[in-house]
């Protein structure tokens, strides 16, 4: 069942990415994913209701900045770009989580989402999540991203 949920989450992520940020991504074998990057952002959204858990996205800072510029129609060189990138990743994770819960459990069940949080992750944290069985790997227009679901 967890695998079924992960497949749904993966589909929701790619769909939301396209509709929210106008970006295309695809699943990528983990051994083809880069291990090094100056920094990553890690967004998490916790949910509770019939089930409780966390949806998380870890993405390279370049990807977050590009995504934010796409959504806001700004230039990636803008002075607010890092701040905007964090905010956009938070909102992406929030929308992915909400859409996933409806896909997985239907639209009769009420879930509560705790507003997302974002932290900076280093290459060590990235590698740990990359090789964790719960994570899914993607390349989004040449930039790496990881997605995971933890659910009780």
């Amino acid at each position: 069942m967890q695998n079924e949920y992960r497949t749904m989450l993966s589909e929701v992520f790619l769909d939301v990415l396209m509709r929210f940020a106008f970006m295309f991504g695809e699943k990528c074998p983990k051994d083809k994913m880069p291990l090094e990057n100056p920094s990553f952002y890690h967004a998490r959204v916790e949910f509770y209701g019939d089930r409780q858990g966390t949806v998380g996205i870890m993405a390279s800072d370049d990807l977050c900045i590009e995504m934010s510029a796409n959504v806001l129609g700004t230039d990636i060189e803008d002075k607010n770009s890092v701040e905007d990138a964090v905010d956009t990743l938070e909102e992406l994770s929030n929308v992915v989580c909400g859409q996933f819960l409806t896909s997985a459990f239907g639209n009769e069940v009420i879930f509560n989402l705790i507003p997302p949080s974002v932290s900076i992750a280093d290459s060590k944290e990235w590698s740990e999540l990359l090789y964790n069985d719960e994570s899914l790997a993607f390349m989004v227009e040449d930039s790496p991203a990881l997605l995971y679901l933890k659910m009780e």
């Binding site: 934010s68 938070e90 909102e91 639209n107 009420i110």
Partner: protein
Amino acid sequence: MLYNILIVDDSRTTRTVISKTLKLAGVPINQLYEAENGKVALDILDKSWVDLVLADINMPEMDGVEMIDHMSRDGLLKTIPVVIVSTEGSQTRIEEMRSKGVRAYVRKPFTPELIKNIVKDILGEKDAK
């Protein structure tokens, strides 16, 4: 007629996208207010007249449900149309919101056209009154 519109969302990205959508859609705007949660929104509503509220549900400090509860208990605030713009997909929650007077519901991710059409419909009704 020019309108005062309040956008309530903890995501600055979403507030900016909605704000740009309204401006590009040619909605006649006098003042656009922004609030990052329901508490800040109620403070703005306490001080300024607003013609339309676009609000998220999941926000820190005070969420959209609590904000709408406050508005529905106030004789003046309950007359302001509210549109929910949220990732929330529960039909049960949407019905609950509608029973408290919410006029429309937009699910994230939204298209600018959807926001534009709903806002123009609601403001058009206000003009007709």
